[in-house]
Subunit: 218 residues, 2 copies
């Protein structure tokens, strides 16, 4: 089931860049792992970066129970979660036509504080596994106390849209005679070799998901 | 001159991660090139990714004159601009203590629509040079028509704060006896070899700032 277009998610301009199919939206959400959570606090906008996870059609974010941003977002007001993947820088012959290649998802909705302890535990592990696929089964799971100390929010992935730009620069025909290079600088996220913290049993080798870390790409 | 702490930029928790000195804030703004612009539209939050530039203590964003997000932001309401650099993923022995190393800046203020044509031109070129240092002098500058077609917003970098996390996981002492690897996966932005668009004079070589693209790091 794909996503319904609403007044908030409809693209007003460059409609060809808009995508409302679940495959496109979920692939961007799965490749990213930092979202920018927007909420309204005291009448003004606040945008904070945070990790997130996904279980089916729900997006989860979490933080300390005392976290002001999450507490405000949990109060039943509208939230906006945006995930952006920067794929490349587009160099045109003119300053005006410079651009970026990117994939982004903008998700609107009301976040709910997760009260159920089992869902809370599943969400915490889903966030760990979203950021480092395969990690959660290697870790010591959350205690009752840690679950109490954590605020988890659920946001249904219903009112969402993706925006995608690919390709080279759009040029004015007359600019093509200028002796200026045009094209794209591709960008990727690079994971370096894992650095052990030197605590505990230092003979434990870095697991494969850390030594060969990469984001899921569909 | 460093930045005054306000109710909005004061850190409520983990205060040791907060930075209000100009050197830290400006270094993060200069290394990043995609910001997440938050504004309130019809009572709810909206967060969109966009490129930006900086001239002294002003941050500039731009878009088409018809851009709804920028027009809304230009209407004199509060805006929030957040820039996030993801530096690493922190793997703890427990799911609970997983974390991210990052540097972020959150900037609050009212954006002003730039009406002065010279400032508009300078801002457009500053954004080009912010994303690709050194590029603007190689490009065909904006025409009067292109300047009219572009909406440029200025946001003073006054009410801003940086947040920085570095280092390995914080562990519960009893978790250190577990046979679980702990440490950091470092993340960097990687620029690949530039891809020419195949238009115009294809003998023009990729300039050095594209062939050896990297973000300014202080």
């Amino acid at each position: 089931m794909d996503l319904a277009v609403t007044d908030r998610t409809r693209l007003r301009r460059k409609k060809e860049r808009g995508h409302f199919d679940w495959a496109t939206v979920s692939a961007i959400l799965d490749e990213g792992f930092v979202c920018h959570l927007g909420f309204v606090d005291d009448g003004g906008p606040v945008v904070i970066p945070t990790a997130y996870g996904r279980i089916d059609r729900d997006l989860y974010v979490h933080g300390a129970s005392a976290n002001h941003a999450l507490r405000t977002t949990a109060s039943g007001m509208e939230a906006c979660v945006t995930v952006t993947l920067a794929d490349g820088i587009v160099l045109a012959r003119s300053a005006f036509h410079h651009s970026m290649n990117y994939r982004s998802v903008v998700l609107f909705g009301r976040a709910t504080k997760v009260e159920d302890v089992d869902e809370k535990r599943r969400a915490m592990l889903a966030i760990v596994d979203h950021v480092v696929p395969g990690r959660s089964t290697d870790t010591r799971g959350p205690t009752e106390e840690e679950l109490r100390a954590t605020l988890v929010l659920r946001l249904p992935i219903v009112e969402a849209s993706a925006k995608v730009r690919t390709g080279g620069p759009i040029e004015e025909p007359e600019d093509l005679s200028l002796p200026i290079w045009g094209g794209e600088i591709p960008l990727t996220l690079n994971a370096g070799q894992p650095v052990a913290d030197g605590q505990g049993d230092t003979r434990v080798p870095a697991p494969a998901y850390a030594a060969a870390y990469r984001r899921p790409v569909r």
